[in-house]
């Protein structure tokens, strides 16, 4: 690792006694080869990057569409009550395990009117709990509180609870689910 050693190998420094002095055509050839090599590697690099970038950013470009999910018989959601319900996420992957399970709160206003709230607090997504006695949802993380209709009652949440679209099919309650609810849905 001497200073002189570092200068060797460039072909032009003249320190290698065995190397012939470089000639002009050889230099021109070397310049062309270098540019050709850089160009070929550049093209190859771009071709390799396309699948890699596509693979990694794929989830961001996918349209995360929701799908109708069956929450169960209407009779399991008595009128005037708010009940806990779970479903398997419709766009789950084989490796999701328990994390494909999702919870929500179903409020039956009357036999034909429902509100289905996401479990996630509108502040930072922690799971809210329903308190039947005080008719409030409370969040254990930062103390967000919501009334039974999902509207914000107290604490840091910027809005009320997220709601799923619902419909009644025959005697069953369906919701439009599939993605973690988020603030952009409020706009």
């Amino acid at each position: 690792m001497t200073a002189q050693g570092n200068q060797c190998g460039c072909g032009g420094c003249g320190c290698g006694a065995t190397k012939p002095p470089s000639s002009a055509p050889a230099d021109a050839r070397r310049g062309f080869m270098f540019k050709l090599g850089a160009g070929l590697l550049g093209i190859g690099g771009v071709l390799t990057s396309i699948p890699i970038v596509g693979y990694l950013v794929g989830p961001a470009t996918k349209r995360s569409s929701n799908l109708w999910v069956d929450l169960g018989e209407l009779s399991t959601f008595p009128s005037g009550q708010t009940r806990f319900a779970t479903f398997l996420n419709p766009i789950r992957q084989p490796t999701d395990g328990d994390s494909a399970k999702t919870a929500c709160w179903v409020r039956c206003i009357d036999a034909t009117h429902f509100q289905v709230f996401a479990i996630n607090c509108a502040h930072l997504g922690c799971p809210v709990r329903w308190f039947e006695q005080s008719k409030l949802f409370m969040c254990p993380c930062h103390g967000g509180v919501y009334y039974q209709d999902g509207s914000r009652a107290a604490g840091p949440p910027p809005r009320g609870l997220f709601e799923y679209a619902w419909k009644v099919q025959g005697t069953r309650l369906l919701i439009d689910a599939g993605r973690l609810p988020g603030l952009e849905e409020s706009t």
């Binding site: 996420n89 328990d98 502040h123 409030l136 409370m138 930062h142 973690l180 603030l183």
Partner: protein
Amino acid sequence: MNFAKATMRWIEERTGVVAFVAPLLFHHVPRNAKWWYVFGSATLMFFTIQLVTGVCLATVYAPSAAQAWESLNYIDQGVPMGWMLRALHGWSSNAMVVMMAIHMVQVFLHASYKYPRELNWITGVFLLLTTLALAFTGQVMRWDQDAYWGLGIGAAIADRIPLVGDQVRALLLGGPIIGGETLNRFFALHVFVLPGAAIALVGLHMVLIIKNGISEMPKPGAIVVPSTYRREFEERMRTDGVPFVPDAAQRDMVFCGVCLIAIVALAAVFGPFGPGGMPDPTLINTNPRPDYPFMWLFGAVSLLPPASETAIMLIAPAAGVVILLAIPFLSNSGERAPSRRPAMVLIALLTVMAIVALTWEGTTSPWSPVMDGWSSLPTPAKFTQGRTPLEMQGAVVFQYAQCRNCHELDGHGGKRGPALDEIATRLSYDQLVRQVQQGGGNMPAYGKNLDSAQTAAVVAFLATLHPDNEPDALIPGAQLPLPVGDATAR
């Protein structure tokens, strides 16, 4: 002996390893570089422990959302010394963050980032970011309830980014929900990308240390002048410096040895961190908390004013990084002694105090309701003695309607709202009715949720809450001490 020497010569002639390493080991460092300088070495030692224990854990850990939690329990229960490896990895990660923080504060206080060591500081800032990213992704590896809901918090913050929030969140989670691809993304970051980045940055940090030398202890009046500093520093090292090995290294070795033994002892006594509850998002009776390196952030997001919360959450971290990176450019010459830079000392002191205070707040979380306070806490006997049946009924309503989740009686209950032991000395009967029914001051309105009999009972009970011989608040309609009608105040 001759054989050993010959072997060394044989290897040296073919590798030049001694010629390469010797200057690293025996380069001269300042004579006065004493115990202040040991924290960087300790950080590096704990990083090495992380690499070794991390590779060991990866031989058993199943990086799959369906099996990660079970595999961690298997490591703890079924693999010989598995629990100890997990404990070492966890305790050493906390130690690495702590040592790095102390190292950074020391470098800041001594202004070692000034010329010519600006890039030492900048590589250090990137090492800090990489280490915190390792800590966060490591928490995800635990794949328990805290990991799941911690990701939910990360996703909710990403979601607040204007315009591209949805895409950023999907990129972070690897899909529209927290699931299998989320864990594998964070696994790839935690075991490949971030350790690789950290190793490269440590290498760069070391090269810069060798190139620029270790800074001397700051002396008041010893001014850094960029045009002459390097020549004078190198001259001083030649004449007055001491070789790193053994003069400085021995202190590093003693300190690192003590730290290592302490961490092994902590790991052996207290064991591994988690895994907590199983990562089933339908098990919602959980109380998600981040790991200690992020507890101050958890505390901070609880205390932000809601109106500016999103802006602060998104801008403050970026601003913090920019400020850290800008420090050596804002001032890279002049005095280094803390006694001549009182404002900088104050900034360091306030930053450390803020982080400690926010960590404490995050740990105690006084803003969080005590979710089972209403069902698990007894009513203090002194608040039930000599009460009328109506007042006793009010005490029942008080528990039943979850008031206790946010309000303390006799030191037990939530701290979200004020303790109510002496509420009757502050609010008159009418004011109590109003507060219960309409809420306000960050309290929900109970008017819709309690019938008039329940309201009458609970107010009758609250009206008894005052010390003996102290009068009730008797001014009807007086200005409430709590902010009224301002739902966003906290």
